[in-house]
């Protein structure tokens, strides 16, 4: 009798341990990789005039860092599992990875916001972003850049010239007495994935897309001082929507 009780208890414990282990889920990390169309881009490609835009300008990359926020996995019951509240991705400094978070096994959709949404974009609130000077001046509404992308391009005059493709919340200062803002951050949906094991999710940025889709970007016209340029910010936001895609799922 005692033996049966012992065996029964042991069996019960084993079953509960197994189900607990399953409930704990698995580790999911995210890695951002970068391309110019199909060509991989890494920091070793920086400072070299070798990328050709759709409009025909040849450019170099000297600085590329951008903010992603609300990176979540949403399950079939619409429950969100937050992978990252926000993260500054910096290609030049190889800061490309979001640390692993434990998530239950299952089927999910993956999404994130490029930049900060309006409610998150509060001035001076993030010490880590302040510490790397990612702030926007108060005269443009404060808050944070979505992206700083700097380099040089060969333009119409055939001499290298600078560009500062800085994406921020759009500011319309046409009427100085009634400054208007437009939230140009955008959600990126990266489709369905099934977690069966520890997983690294690759998210790809096609840098070339910032210059072509749907708006063919002419760097001769739009190169620097783009932060206060309301129309340019709207175009960046439109072009940005086709920049990101999901890459490999390593399980």
């Amino acid at each position: 009798m005692k033996r049966i009780l012992f065996l029964g208890t042991t069996l019960l414990l084993l079953c509960s341990c197994t189900s607990s282990k399953k409930d704990l889920g698995t580790n999911v990390s995210v890695h951002f990789s970068h391309y110019w169309d199909s060509i991989p881009v890494s920091p070793t490609d920086f400072n070299s005039l070798k990328f050709t835009t759709k409009n025909g300008e040849i450019l170099s990359i000297e600085n590329l860092r951008y903010l992603v926020s609300n990176l979540v996995l949403t399950d079939v019951n619409n429950k969100n599992y937050e992978l990252s509240k926000y993260q500054l991705i910096n290609l030049g400094e190889n800061q490309l990875t979001i640390p692993a978070v434990e998530v239950p096994l299952g089927t999910y959709t993956l999404s994130f916001v490029f930049g900060f949404s309006e409610t998150q974009n509060t001035d001076g609130s993030y010490p880590d972003l302040n510490s790397v000077s990612f702030n926007i001046p108060n005269m443009l509404g404060g808050g944070y850049h979505y992206m700083q992308f700097d380099g040089k391009y060969i333009g119409e005059n055939l001499a290298p010239a600078p560009f500062n493709y800085h994406a921020i919340r759009a500011v319309n200062k046409e009427n100085p007495n009634a400054i208007a803002f437009q939230d140009t951050s955008f959600k990126v949906d990266l489709g369905v994935l099934v977690l069966t094991n520890a997983t690294e999710i690759e998210i790809q940025m096609n840098i070339a897309e910032w210059f072509k889709n749907p708006y063919t970007w002419d760097l001769n016209e739009l190169n620097t001082v783009l932060m206060p340029n309301f129309e340019a910010q709207l175009l960046m936001s439109q072009n940005g929507k086709s920049v990101f895609s999901r890459g490999e799922l390593s399980q």
Partner: protein, 339 residues
């Protein structure tokens, strides 16, 4: 009978040092870099301060760290290049010392070659054009002194003095050099107001279409007033001092130097890595009309084709007024930082 040495019996526990972090720094920035292998202690900081001002660190006992990093000048040098003990001059302007614990990547000097404050302190002592000594000789001098062995014992648990412990102590002292009470800091704390000139100057500083200084030199949300990154700011068409490029060996880094903090400018002339500008007016003129194109010029120097941001005389005065509002007289008069 079990005999123990006197040293083993006397175990002294140094007192942790309470670093007074300015409220703005605490709220706006991530934590300062305080290495685990060199925690701040009262004894370590006191020892480091004494060493900082001690001329025995030089070959002929005539120079200390403070000889080139003068507290009155915000721990900077008031001439372009410093003169070493043998009458020879260096080729870089001695940088001011403050808020060093918030240099998060710990790349010090104009060219980033010194990877930590402890490592930086090793160099000037043995440099033949600076203090021209050697660490073995310095250690011997300090060991022979009546006061240092006990001070080292209390700070580090050992009276065996060497370059490691000396530079650790100096680094501890340097980490306490905090400047955060300028007029602009008091303005941000709502304790004072800016003059119209200072406000207009700040607006120019923060305007991407005008000065656009904030991308490299911080903002009201980054009270360091520097990004501590390396930029070619258009000083020379052909840089002869390669700066970061000489450290990394990468030609794309040629002519790049660390953005200095804009705090305490009233005390830290001359300016730039080689002290070429003796006045702030010259600095502002450089960015306004004097930019030089080169292969590695930073893309943020967006107006290089026009020579610079083209400020009017009034705008220049206003910008200067704002920059001077970042100066902190409390820092240079702090008795804790003086001999």
């Amino acid at each position: 009978m079990h005999c123990t040495s006197k040293e083993e019996d006397e175990i002294y526990t140094p007192v942790p040092y309470n670093l007074e972090i300015p409220a703005l720094f605490a709220s706006k920035l991530i934590a300062p870099v305080l290495p685990l292998n060199n925690p701040l202690t009262e004894e370590g900081v006191a020892l480091g301060k004494k060493l900082f001002f001690d001329k025995r660190l030089s070959g002929n006992n005539t120079q200390s760290c403070a000889s080139c990093h003068n507290p009155r000048n915000s721990f900077a040098e008031n001439q372009s290049f410093s003169e070493g003990i043998d009458g020879r001059f260096g080729n870089r302007n001695a940088m001011p010392l403050f808020n060093l614990a918030w240099n998060f990547e710990e790349r010090f000097a104009w060219d980033g070659k010194e990877l930590s404050l402890e490592r930086q302190a090793l160099e000037p002592v043995k440099n033949p054009i600076e203090m021209h000594s050697d660490w073995k000789r310095v250690a011997e001098k300090l060991t022979a002194s009546p006061e240092y062995p006990d001070m080292f014992k209390q700070a580090f648990g050992s009276s065996k003095i060497d370059s490691i412990l000396i530079t650790k102590a100096i680094a501890q002292f340097e980490r306490t050099l905090i400047s955060g009470n300028s007029k602009f800091d008091r303005f941000l704390r709502n304790e004072t107001s800016l003059s119209p000139q200072e406000q207009n100057g700040f607006d120019l500083f923060m305007n991407e279409a005008k000065g656009d200084c904030f991308h490299c030199h911080g903002s009201n949300q980054n009270p360091l007033w520097t990004d501590n990154k390396f930029h070619n700011n258009g000083l020379d068409a052909t840089p002869t001092d390669l700066g970061l490029g000489a450290v990394t060996g990468d030609p794309n880094d040629n002519g790049k130097f660390r953005s200095p903090s804009l705090r305490n400018l009233i005390f830290t002339a001359p300016y730039m890595h080689d002290g070429r500008f003796t006045t702030l007016d010259q600095v502002i003129n450089h960015y306004s009309e004097g930019l030089q194109q080169s292969a590695t010029i930073d893309p943020l120097m967006k107006t290089v084709a026009q020579g610079g941001v083209q400020l009017s005389p009034q705008e220049k005065m206003d910008l200067k007024a704002f920059l001077l509002s970042l100066s902190d007289t409390e820092f240079i008069n702090n008795p804790a930082f003086k001999q």
